[in-house]
């Protein structure tokens, strides 16, 4: 039982990172109807920025600064590479974001150099005893940070004018425009938010570990997360992220005991995709996705 609970907590820690990444994908998708494949690059950029800023600013200062800088970077990308493509098919814009991802990662890799770097987080691999459970402090930290950010985001969408504008634009851009909503600003804020969230996620991926050029691949797990949560659902991104994180950790923990040998030794890697497929069989629009209604 202790094993199980510890695995669940580790999974929630890992899932929190997926949730932050997935939120970025969903925010951009809701605003622009495009899946941005640039999120992995923003995640890596944020983490690398923290490794450079942590010396002068300390961890939290570096995290805030890196989040803002990555948000600015995302905003710049939106203005320069994505905005001119408004009105073009979503597929074309998605491919452009793929190009942006590669270009940004090349630049970030140049800053990263050949060695691994550290974000010098306060937790490292230290553990704490909670009700008889050995829990890594970084998992508690990322869970709390995600909780605060998610609460803030939901409050933002619920109570602020721009949040309301973003919700309106996500339902119907033309109607929102007619009501005076600046859809361009909505696009910009969406990209900036997604960039910032990716930076936070990247920093927590590196907490207790290292930043290296391959770290960006973690962001790809957010893709099955958003599909199973529902492409246009913010709660879906959070629930999907946590669910995938926990299931992945449970798969890693109990595979040797219960999984057949022919599945190989790393079932946890494919868990997100298996869960996504299973959920889609039952709910084709994801757990919380909006069912599309079309006139025929």
């Amino acid at each position: 039982m202790v094993d199980l609970l510890e695995a669940v907590i580790r999974g929630l820690g890992r899932g929190s990172i997926y949730a932050l990444l997935a939120l970025g994908f969903v925010i951009i998708f809701k605003a622009t109807r495009v899946i941005s494949f640039a999120q992995p690059a923003f995640m890596l950029a944020g983490a690398v920025l923290v490794t450079f800023l942590v010396g002068p600013l300390g961890f939290w200062g570096a995290l805030i600064a890196a989040t803002l800088l990555t948000a600015l970077l995302a905003l710049g990308v939106e203005r320069s590479a994505v905005r001119p493509m408004v009105g073009r098919p979503a597929f074309v814009v998605a491919i452009i974001t793929l190009g942006v991802d590669i270009a940004v990662r090349v630049v970030v890799n140049a800053f990263l150099g050949i060695n691994v770097r550290q974000v010098d987080d306060p937790w490292g691999l230290k553990t704490v005893e909670l009700a008889g459970l050995r829990v890594e402090q970084r998992h508690i930290a990322v869970l709390l940070t995600t909780t605060v950010l998610v609460a803030g985001l939901f409050a933002y969408f619920r109570f602020t004018r721009m949040g309301l504008a973003m919700r309106a634009a996500s339902y119907d851009q033309e109607a929102a425009l007619a009501q005076g909503v600046s859809v361009g600003s909505v696009f910009a804020v969406s990209w900036a938010m997604a960039g910032g969230l990716a930076a936070v996620a990247g920093t927590f991926v590196a907490a207790g570990e290292n930043v290296d050029g391959l770290m960006w691949r973690i962001a790809l797990v957010a893709l099955p997360v958003i599909i199973l949560g529902g492409l246009d659902s913010l709660p879906g991104a959070v629930v999907g992220g946590l669910l995938v994180g926990v299931l992945q950790e449970l798969a890693a923990n109990y595979q040797a005991e219960y999984a057949p040998v022919w599945l190989g030794e790393n079932v946890s890697i494919i868990t997100p995709y298996v869960v996504m497929l299973l959920v889609l069989l039952v709910k084709p629009y994801g757990l919380f996705g909006t069912r599309e209604v079309e006139r025929v």
Binding site: Q118, K126, G213, L214, Q255
Partner: protein
């Protein structure tokens, strides 16, 4: 008519793309073909000398071994510059800078860039990675292209075109097992490794040694990426082996050791040589690594006092010490010896170089490896079987201090290499 013209054009382009090609004999009576020109090298010290072109295919930008591969490549540039400064080989200087390509540690990319440069080079001064080199091996054999590997798989003992140095992964693991058996008396061993010629070879060596030493053996294949180690960590926690052999990249090592220790594991870890990166001494896993981890190595580190190490340090002033440099430097000696022998035989063709490799009975590593090293004529029987051990130390130049000098363990000593070890996993 247009079709014929196009064919002629393609043929002309193909021919001019190759440096050399036809066998010719120079003024000194040396036969040459591909990758050797009468024209001087781009950065020639003596413009009167011709140029031998060697290619380098390495993991230079985004693969898991770039922290090793970049200094390996820089050391090889410095090594061949030293050779050129000392007069070159057989009236030629050696160029290793024109045909440097990045493989991203991807076999497909490795093959692509090899195809791009193979028409212009005599040999490869470096082909990094066992799985990547496997992608070009058949073509190397067909084209008589000799290569110094940046890898240590035991399969190279059976490949004439590969001119390897130091103990292979299989032997290194056997030595690690003997070392651990003497020092820690483990009863069980778990090998965590990448799939392929690198990881499987090390795991196979551990398996063979475990049978000899009466230990229980198990192994788990893991993927590259810190995020993909949850299964490996869970296996360690569940099985609680006395010894874990890790054959991965550095980031995976830090994740595995750090998180297993955080979950209460107190057994020992030994890493295969490419698994270490001194930058890990600054990571969150550093305390766990310092307490539980040791590193096996096929030769002694950067700070060692031998004429070869001193020459290397002199040729690389101002660099941050790394054993990537040491490896790049060591790996270059056999190719230098083979080129010198081929030149002495008046045959610097690809076939001539391969013949020279097959006839080498020893290589002068300037003390970096013992005098018995470099017996390629003896084939697998001539393999060097020595391994050294280091432990992490933040204050040491390359992040580790020696705990045991180069030595052959009893298991490796008695083991007769009859085929690639990884086939026995």
């Amino acid at each position: 008519m247009k079709r014929i013209a196009a064919l002629i054009l393609v043929a002309a382009v193909s021919l001019t793309a190759c440096r050399g090609g036809d066998t010719t004999t120079d003024a000194g009576g040396i036969k040459t073909d591909i990758g050797v020109t009468k024209e001087p090298c781009k950065d020639a010290i003596d413009k009167a000398k011709g140029c031998i072109y060697l290619g380098i295919i390495s993991d230079l930008t985004e693969g898991p071994f770039k922290a090793l591969a970049v200094p390996i490549t820089d050391a090889q540039k410095a090594f061949w510059k030293r050779v050129n400064t000392a007069g070159g080989i057989g009236g030629y200087e050696v160029d290793v800078t024109t045909y440097i390509r990045d493989n991203k540690y991807n076999p497909q990319v490795h093959k692509e860039v090899y195809d791009q440069i193979k028409g212009n080079i005599l040999a490869l001064a470096q082909t990094l990675g066992s799985p990547t080199t496997a992608a070009i091996l058949a073509d190397m054999k067909a084209s008589n292209i000799v290569a110094a590997p940046a890898a240590w798989t035991s399969a190279y003992a059976f490949e004439d075109v590969i001119i390897e140095s130091g103990a292979n992964y299989c032997i290194e693991s056997m030595n690690a097992m003997d070392y651990a058996a003497d020092k820690y008396k483990p009863k069980s061993v778990l090998s965590i490794h990448y799939a392929g010629d690198y990881g499987d070879d090390a795991a196979a060596g551990a398996k063979i040694a475990a049978e000899k030493l009466g230990m229980t053996f198990s192994h788990l294949k893991t993927d590259s990426g810190a995020d993909k180690q949850a299964g490996a960590i869970a296996e360690i926690i569940a099985k609680k082996p006395d010894l874990v052999l890790v054959t991965t990249g550095p980031t995976e090592l830090a994740t595995i050791v750090g998180q297993a220790a955080a979950r209460g594991f107190t057994g020992r870890f030994i890493g295969t040589s490419p698994t270490w990166n001194p930058a890990l001494n600054a990571s969150a896993a550093a305390p766990a690594l310092a307490a539980l981890y040791e590193q096996s190595a096929p030769w002694n580190n950067w700070a060692t006092n031998t004429p070869g190490h001193e020459a290397m340090r002199k040729a690389l002033p101002g660099v941050t010490p790394s054993d990537g440099y040491t490896s790049g430097w060591v790996w270059s000696y056999p190719l230098k010896a083979a080129l010198a022998k081929a030149a002495a035989n008046k045959d610097l063709t690809r076939a001539g170089l391969l013949a020279a490799v097959k006839s080498l009975e020893s290589v002068d590593y300037e003390g970096m490896l013992p005098a018995t090293a470099g017996n390629y004529k003896a084939g697998a029987a001539g393999q060097l079987k020595m391994t050294a051990f280091y432990k992490p130390d933040k204050t040491a130049p390359t992040g580790g201090v020696m705990v045991q000098d180069l030595k052959v363990g009893k298991t490796a000593e008695a083991y007769k290499l009859e085929g690639p070890c990884f086939a026995k996993l």
